[in-house]
Symmetry: C2
Subunit: 127 residues, 2 copies
């Protein structure tokens, strides 16, 4: 099993052979997580519809939810214009984050260091 | 100017010193693009609220919209649980993609290689 040649040619891999995969929840639009894939992880995802990634730290493949039960059913995958990122539209069972949070981005906002005050926010003028 | 020490310590950079930054449109929830940042690009984004990235191919900083006019006003930035990805909530002026598409992911879906037919899709049963 290999990726279709056209797709393999489109993918732009980093120095470690990996590309980014973003999982977005289908019903809510929430961005759940970003993880890494190599060609094999993508092949497995396309063959099983289970979000399958490559761990940079553990250097192994992992199927989302295989140990936690928090599986990801993959509905749709798009490759971006320059081929270094995939966007997966998924149905997520339970929490996507290993911390128990729904999304891996359920964290405190970073603090801006600009001196812009809220009243100069372009949004607050017109609506 | 430097990143706050706590934030700098949290960031997990790739072998090239970069981390991923996902831009999601605030009003629509659409995932617009993924690009790369290093510490300096993040510092600039936090100081200006203009999405500022690092180009791996051109090895230079770029401010989204600086040449196209398709600027990104950054409302909110979250770092993910393991510190290798940021999620930016933005107001995007015009197309986010250099191709003229609204999103860099406005591309054809990849083809799954599973043998699952639509009627076995878990979604089509209950609702």
């Amino acid at each position: 099993m290999a990726l279709p040649a056209e797709l393999a040619a489109k993918l732009k891999r980093g120095p470690d052979g990996l590309f980014a995969a973003i999982a977005q929840e289908r019903d809510t639009g929430i961005v759940l997580m970003m993880a890494w894939m190599d060609d094999e992880a993508l092949e497995r995802t396309l063959a099983t519809r289970k979000g399958t990634y490559y761990s940079r730290s553990r250097q192994e493949y992992w199927v989302k939810g295989e140990t936690s039960g928090h599986t990801q059913y993959v509905h749709d995958i798009r490759i971006d214009c320059d081929g270094d990122t995939l966007l997966l539209t998924v149905d997520q069972v339970g929490a996507a984050c290993h911390t128990g949070n729904h999304s891996c981005f359920d964290t405190e906002p970073l603090e801006f260091t600009d001196s812009v005050i809220d009243s100069t926010d372009p949004d607050t003028g017109g609506h």
